[in-house]
């Protein structure tokens, strides 16, 4: 490992995303990226009895698919690092219950995808583990129920609201050579600019994304031109233009290379308001769609900045503002 600046690192050894797996709900499967997901369900229950079990099913699927594609058995894996949006990380914890391997649960709200990937790559680089599975999940109905209202409650959502993605994404991190190498990461700080509107998490997370991307470029001594794509997690159609303007006012122009996972996941006629969000959003878009594009050669080097809003409904009702965090991981296409 080599420390870069104050918040970043590069890996000393070549560490790869050996394989990935994704499993998604009906809206994601019917969306523009539908064909890039390994498994998709027609029904939000995914064949289970309740929403929480459905989310665990998605998480288990993504892991199973990853192992199958890699031709591996659970005993070949040293460690499982996972997280989700629910209280006490139950989806990840209960999935780990059946996995019989070392487990680290992580919570970074919707930034957990890159949080787990960064830590896993670091542990593999250091030789603490040979193969690590990282996985995250979210489910529209479990999130609605925990953070907002019962799913059948007639509440008119404003157009700034995002829709929690239903799905799970898993990445297997190891030193087995593959087409996707993990180059390094920038770990974000918690940033709170005083946003209070829980129906606009996109703009609440922009200052965190701005801070991490700016820090990343300075720590790595790079400019946006060094990347074929800088992709944010779920800043939505409201937050994305704010991020671009905010970075431009610092002399950093990402207009040509920026995309947002939440805006890629659905088409505008799917009624998803400002776009997708949730822990699964950045995970399924990155592990499904973006890695496919990298393997095809569309992108050579990308920066994935997953953004998370770290509030709970209780503290929001107590008039607290919404703190946010963003973590970046650099992925590079390996030739040959």
């Amino acid at each position: 490992m080599a420390k870069m600046g104050r918040q970043s690192w590069t890996l000393n050894n070549a560490v790869y995303i050996e394989e990935t797996g994704t499993s998604v709900g009906p809206k994601e499967g019917k969306g523009p990226l539908g064909s890039s997901f390994d498994k998709s369900y027609e029904n939000l229950y995914c064949g289970e009895d309740n929403w929480e079990m459905a989310e665990r099913k998605l998480l288990q699927d993504s892991i199973q698919v990853t192992l199958e594609k890699a031709g591996l058995k659970p005993q070949h894996i040293d460690m499982f690092i996972a997280g989700d949006l629910l209280n006490q990380n139950v989806s990840a914890n209960y999935t780990a219950r059946d996995m019989d391997m070392s487990y680290l649960g992580m919570f970074g709200a919707c930034s957990t995808s890159m949080e787990t990937l960064a830590i896993a790559s670091q542990l593999v680089d250091a030789g603490a583990a040979d193969r690590i599975l990282t996985a995250v999940s979210s489910h529209n109905a479990t999130a609605e129920r925990q953070f907002r209202f019962p799913t059948e409650y007639g509440n008119q959502k404003p157009e700034t609201a995002t829709s929690t993605a239903t799905g799970a994404g898993c990445a297997l991190v190891s030193r087995e050579k593959s087409k996707i190498r993990i180059e390094g990461a920038t770990i974000g700080k918690v940033v709170d600019f005083g946003a209070t509107n829980a129906f606009d998490l996109g703009s609440a997370m922009v200052p965190a994304a701005h801070d991490t991307i700016k820090r990343h470029l300075s720590d790595f001594g790079r400019t946006p031109a060094d990347y074929d794509l800088i992709v944010t997690g779920d800043l939505s159609s409201v937050g994305s233009p704010i991020l671009k303007d905010m970075l431009r006012s610092d002399g950093i122009n990402i207009d040509a290379v920026h995309k947002d996972c939440g805006n890629l996941l659905y088409t505008s006629d799917q009624g998803m308001l400002a776009g997708g969000s949730g822990t699964a959003c950045s995970a399924i878009v990155t592990y499904g769609h973006l890695l496919d594009e990298m393997k095809k050669g569309t992108y050579k080097r990308i920066l994935v900045t997953a953004t998370g809003a770290l509030m709970s409904p209780t503290v929001i009702r107590q008039k607290e503002s919404i703190p946010a965090i963003a973590h970046s991981v650099v992925l590079v296409r390996e030739e040959g």
Binding site: W51, P150, T151, E152, Q156, E159, T160, G194, A195, P241
Partner: protein, 153 residues
Amino acid sequence: MDSKFKKENYNKTAKSYYPKVPLFRNCLKAFLVGGFICLIGELLTKFYMQVFDMSQQEAGTPTVTTLILLSALLTGIGVYDRIAQFAGAGTAVPVTGFANSITSAALEFKSEGYVLGIGGNMFKLAGSVIVFGVTSAYIVGIIRYVFNQLVGG
């Protein structure tokens, strides 16, 4: 960094990026759907008055009961929240919105059991309506009562 992106100005700046709330369109939709629900209420009242020979006040009970039944069923088949995304206050303000808030909470917590799930959470959203209704009725009632005693005697 541009001062409009500084922490103290950020909330105001972020709001300038919001899509404009289609106020007129939202109000029109609320008017049409809300008015339509009241129209059904009026039709039901007239129906009960004619068929069961009730007075207007007597017909109020079966009317409200029917509306609540319809709302609960629409919530059960997963339609009420779709209409509400379109209609906003048009479905929240009528008594059907009250029934929706009770039914949706009951449905959602069914997975936690009948007693602690459905029973314990049914009034999660509707409770505030009853609490503020009763409290204000008590206060206004006492004022009216005292006033009547002093003036009307």
